[in-house]
Symmetry: C2
Subunit: 209 residues, 2 copies
DNA sequence: TCAATTTTGTTATTTATTGAACACTATTCA
DNA sequence: TGAATAGTGTTCAATAAATAACAAAATTGA
């Protein structure tokens, strides 16, 4: 299987989540236009995404929800599972821990890191919080391959370095400072301030018309 | 001024943030390749973004930091300012409040909403927390035009309806449920689970090579 | 003073992503 | 039984975004 387009990967993740809800409601089959409606995109887009992962539906019945969910899992997930660490257990870190915990069986948050004396040693939602100084050891010990960075911006750079050195393969950066990682580490950055300023800009524009 | 490309708007917001840091360090001029390095993009991209907003630098001196910041402000910001509301004062809501508070003078978080009895009536970081039932009134009273949604997914849909009805022009949706808003409201959605699954997928792929 | 260099502004090309078009077939229903 | 319909799979066209290419001008330094 060749590497899928970025956007297709994002949509597959979203399809899966909603397909699971449909399955929970007892739906066994679903049409491309139903999936499209949920996500506010076109049915063509849905069909093509599904084509790209090599699944094929039944004519006039649509796609088998269960099979599709399973296949998306085979594509997106690593079968042995992947462990995730959250660096920075502030409000954002806690929000993420709550969000993810026990949601996905192939993706589990195995550790959080912080510097605050009161947090270190405790648990949140069953996730142990370690001191940042132990990052290298814990990441290797727990076989963690993905790091989520929600530290204050001042320590963003050193955090990325530490994660790379510890050997993670993917980083999700929530600080506003762009990171610099080697080619063999996948980096995804998200900046809340930018998002808000973007909404503000387009809301303003909208108003001017 | 015609409406700028999506991605250019995002980058302008990021340029500005880093330009302010440069300005703070006493830098008066900056080259396109310096900006590019900070953001890990090409100098051409930077120059074209700047071209699109109609600014022009000095040959061999680069761009005047102060002027550029001012111009980006004129493009992105609404001169009278815009007020923002956060709906859902859980961990994520608090993270956002902390993040933004007093960062931008033209964009201010004027209210937060929640249902929890203990939170309602209190303040966080100087931002008053109201009961969701008062959303319509407060949004109109305080002239709020942008809503950030960080409520539990189950109430995402009703929240979007309430915001639209209250007359906001832009919504930033942090719940994983896609929203449905009329054409005259700008909607930006961000889904953390998708981001993490995307990182996990590409980290996996990376590893397989 | 005048070639060399640096860095901008802009156009042209390429690549990525989305959307439109359409052929094909299982089912429906007259 | 045999048109009509609904919905898939796929190719082709349009749009959006990023990169490459290059002309023009200010500065440098011989």
């Amino acid at each position: 299987m060749n590497t899928l387009p970025d956007k297709t990967v994002e949509r597959l993740s979203q399809y899966r989540r909603n397909l699971l809800i449909c399955k929970g409601k007892g739906k066994t089959h679903i049409f491309s236009h139903e999936i499209a409606n949920i996500h506010h995109i076109t049915p063509v887009q849905v069909r093509r995404d599904i084509m790209l992962i090599g699944y094929t539906g039944t004519l006039r019945k649509g796609y088998n929800v269960e099979e599709l969910v399973t296949l998306i899992g085979e594509i997106l997930d690593k079968q042995e599972g992947q462990n995730v660490a959250i660096v920075g257990a502030g409000n954002l870190g806690h929000a993420i821990m709550k969000y993810f915990h026990d949601r996905r069986d192939k993706l589990s948050i195995a550790a959080a890191f912080d510097t605050s004396e009161e947090k270190v040693g405790s648990e949140f939602d069953g996730i142990p919080i370690y001191h940042i100084d132990d990052l290298q050891t814990v990441i290797k010990e727990k076989n963690i391959s993905i790091g989520i960075v929600s530290v204050p911006v001042e320590v963003a750079e050193e955090t990325s370095k530490a994660l790379v050195e510890a050997g993670v393969l993917g980083i999700l950066n929530y600080t506003p400072r762009p990171m610099n990682v080697p080619d063999n580490v996948y980096l995804e950055e998200y900046d809340m301030i930018t998002s808000l300023e973007k909404v503000a800009y387009f809301a303003k524009i909208m108003n001017e018309k």
